[in-house]
């Protein structure tokens, strides 16, 4: 009898253990209504718990927590709980939790991920009751917002403008030491830029020990390639057709190769695998580096002396306007499985569309704003006084164009464009071969 009881208890315990692995339910309130034009509504005043997932970035999360505290003060019935993951774990957690429907109510997403999750039915469309698409388009810059619009529907709101092109980290001390002066009045043409950057490069025994301009990292190459293509008047992505094997593509590669040939960078020694651009710039093995403004807060603690002589120097445009491709930015979305969508969207709106709150988050996180209101006037001044290196960017953010909706943007950037263009710059393929390979491979990813 005792043995039977013991066996029964063991089996019961194992079954309970097997079934109990899920995450805690999201809220302390009844199930919500189905998604539609309006989000599931909660009875007014009812206790609501909002779970928010973000990736681990202390300055980003400090910004979120401050806003959440303010929101909870204004809405005492709402309790906001943050769960954070390191970047790689976050990506994998999203991939496994969304199909299993165990994700949080609000999910921090990078713009270029949004549509792939939205197309899978994992993200809730933003209800018109929160803000219409037209209203949001009027408030936000095109490039960051582009990532959150899928088939004409809005699936979240960006909070920052992720920029990797348009200006470069530039070491003024090295420039002054070698007598490079064109930068002081701004580079009107690539010839002026090359003249400065050539002087700043150092070659010893035929080996480049300091690059004049390190643009040969993966993000640098991919973003520069697509931005120059746009500046030359091309349109690389139209109705899911990717075209770069064109005269504009040739001009783009020729300009990039020219920068190598005149000795600004040795792509064999300066790339993602060796001398990564951020490390290289702050170790002063590169005098200028193509990388977004997020690099300064990342490195300024350890390399204060280099940061002190660093400015962001705008790059010249080969077109009429300094149009450039940009990869949207971090923002907030709401899970389609959330039972508290209305409360979730209300918090998202509070954080992202209120210009004072959005600015507060940009100031806390050290990011460029996605809201048009915050790139001009008093708000812009506040940003620049806190982050002086933002100034050159604020002048041309409006020219940013969303890089486009690819089935898998990272695949295009890191598996196709970067290795193929780097191979070309290293002298292992012709421009025509490179463009044909890129076009076929990227187009193949749409099938």
């Amino acid at each position: 009898m005792k043995t039977k009881l013991f066996i029964s208890l063991m089996v019961l315990a194992l079954l309970l253990a097997a079934c109990g692995g899920g995450t805690k339910p999201a809220a302390d309130q009844p199930a919500g209504q189905p998604a539609g034009d309006s989000a599931p509504a909660q009875p007014a005043g009812e206790k609501v718990t909002l779970r928010v997932w973000t990736h681990q970035n202390s300055s980003f999360n400090a910004g979120y927590e401050a806003l959440a505290a303010e929101y909870m003060k204004q809405n005492p019935n709402v309790n906001i709980v943050f769960e954070t993951f390191d970047y790689d774990t976050y990506i994998q957690t999203l991939q496994t939790a969304l199909p299993a429907k165990t994700e949080a109510d609000i999910l921090q997403m990078f713009g270029s991920w949004v549509c792939s999750y939205a197309e899978g039915g994992n993200l809730a469309e933003m209800p018109a009751s929160v803000a219409s698409l037209e209203e949001v388009k009027g408030k936000l810059l095109d490039a960051p917002l582009g990532g959150y619009i899928c088939d004409g529907k809005l699936y979240g709101i960006p909070q920052e403008f992720n920029i990797e092109y348009g200006a470069v980290l530039f070491n003024t001390r090295i420039a002054d030491e070698v007598g490079a002066t064109n930068y002081k009045d701004g580079w009107a043409t690539w010839d002026e830029a090359i003249e400065d950057l050539q002087k700043m490069a150092v070659v010893q025994d035929g080996v480049m020990t300091r690059a004049g301009l390190h643009f040969t990292g993966s993000d640098g190459i991919a973003t520069m390639f697509h931005s120059l293509y746009l500046q030359y008047g091309g349109q690389y992505l139209k109705d899911s057709t990717y075209t770069v094997n064109t005269p504009e593509g040739l001009k783009t590669l020729e300009l990039m190769k020219r920068l190598v040939d005149v000795g600004l960078v040795d792509p064999l020694l300066f790339n993602d695998e060796e001398n990564w651009v951020g490390d290289s710039y702050f170790a002063e093995t590169s005098a200028a580096g193509l990388i977004g403004p997020w690099a300064i807060p990342e490195y300024s603690g350890d390399f204060a002396d280099v940061a002190a002589v660093t400015i962001y120097q705008p790059l010249p445009s080969v077109g009429d306007t300094p149009v450039f491709a940009a990869a949207s930015g971090w923002g907030l979305t709401v899970s389609a499985n959330s039972k508290v969508q209305q409360a979730a969207w209300d918090f998202v709106k509070f954080v992202t569309l209120d210009s004072a709150n959005a600015l507060q988050w940009n100031l806390a996180s050290g990011t460029l704003p996605a809201l048009k209101d915050n790139i001009k006037g008093e708000n812009a001044q506040k940003l620049v006084s806190e982050f002086p290196y933002f100034e050159p960017f604020l002048g041309f953010l409006e020219y940013g164009q969303y890089e486009g909706q690819f089935p898998d943007r990272d695949f295009v950037w890191y598996e196709v464009v970067y290795p193929e263009v780097l191979n070309y710059l290293q002298g292992n393929a012709t421009a025509e071969e490179t463009l044909a390979t890129i076009e076929n491979a990227v187009q193949g990813s749409f099938k």
């Binding site: 043995t3 990506i91 999750y117 990272d410 290293q426 990813s445």
Partner: protein
């Protein structure tokens, strides 16, 4: 029919040893459940994925299958057979991965045996007092984490800060910046230098493992057989080639298979040292599987490649077993 009335169940817990049987069942059930949950189920699920165009980003039906992750039958496997230049990138990379992995395995297995077997002989022949020190020294890298080993060797091969170039620079009196792991034009006898660099790091870490197995096998050869050979007039070379090596054949077979399987599964060293570059020259199959499963979320494709990789290892193991199979008793 209730479980308690099932005849098999009753037989299992009746008879003379029923208490013992119940204890055995009780001990096995948790392990069985653990295995079913963590091994059998993932294995079956992973195998099933290969027949779907599955991405975890898309919403599917039960276990993610169906819906936006449709059943595609053998399509993933058929794609692997495309050989035209305009084949999708994943197919071209798969072909590269197969070639690179086979090349890696072909080089690593004999090189490993060529180094570890003589090393084991030498360590076995030294004074007992220092034998332990050598054994420990050569085994230590096995205990080091692969990522640490890869980072260390990455520094050795670094074009500007690397030890190897510093030595060459010291010898030539000039600054040397050869990019051993990043220059696709560096090829020796048709083999990329970057792959050699990875192999050096891999061998350095892996040597001690086979060496310990060989030492144990050498110690297992009865002294009487060696003495008999010596009495019959065999010299040291003959003792080695006619007696010791033939008696070690089962161990050589075992280490060859184990090394081959582990070489097929090389991943972390490659990912950290080269990430498959330059130009895919070190893109091994497991890295390809990882990239497509977890970076690009094409899990259906990655699962299909995993099955192919499993079949490759299985067939080569069987072939090796057939070719090198020896039955020895002593």
């Amino acid at each position: 029919m209730a479980l308690s009335t099932w005849p098999g169940w009753q037989r299992l817990f009746s008879g003379r040893d029923s208490a013992k049987k119940r204890f055995v069942a009780l001990a096995i059930i948790p392990l069985l459940l653990f295995m079913v949950f963590w091994t059998v189920f993932p294995l079956l699920w992973g195998s099933a994925l290969a027949f779907f165009d599955y991405s975890p980003r898309r919403m599917g039906g039960f276990l993610g299958f169906g819906g936006d992750n449709p059943f595609v039958g053998l399509q993933n496997f058929q794609k692997m057979l495309y050989s035209s230049p305009d084949a999708p990138l994943e197919v071209q990379q798969f072909h590269t991965g197969v070639k690179t992995t086979l090349l890696f395995v072909t080089l690593v297995v004999p090189l490993n045996l060529l180094v570890t077997l003589p090393l084991a002989f030498m360590i076995e022949s030294v004074n007992k007092r220092v034998k332990g020190i050598f054994r420990t020294l050569f085994f230590l890298p096995v205990l080091a984490p692969s990522v640490g080993v890869a980072i260390m060797w990455g520094y050795v091969f670094h074009p500007q800060r690397g030890l190897l170039n510093a030595i060459l620079g010291g010898v030539t009196g000039k600054l040397v910046a050869i990019n051993w792991t990043g220059d696709p034009s560096l090829v020796v006898a048709g083999i990329p230098v970057a792959l050699f660099a990875v192999i050096v790091a891999y061998l350095w870490q892996d040597l001690g493992y086979n060496m310990v197995i060989f030492i144990a096998a050498l110690q297992g050869i009865p002294q009487t057989i060696k003495d008999a050979a010596l009495i019959d007039g065999a010299n040291s070379w003959q003792l080695l080639t006619r007696i010791v090596i033939p008696l070690l054949m089962p161990t050589i077979l075992l280490t060859a298979i184990l090394t081959m399987i582990s070489a097929f599964q090389v991943f972390d060293i490659v990912q950290v040292m080269t990430d498959g570059g330059p130009q895919g020259q070190t893109q091994v199959l497991l890295l390809h599987i990882y990239n497509y499963a977890f970076r690009y979320q094409k899990m259906g494709w990655a699962a299909a490649v995993s099955i192919v990789m499993f079949l490759m290892i299985l067939s080569i193991s069987l072939l090796q077993n057939r070719l090198l199979n020896t039955e020895l008793e002593y």
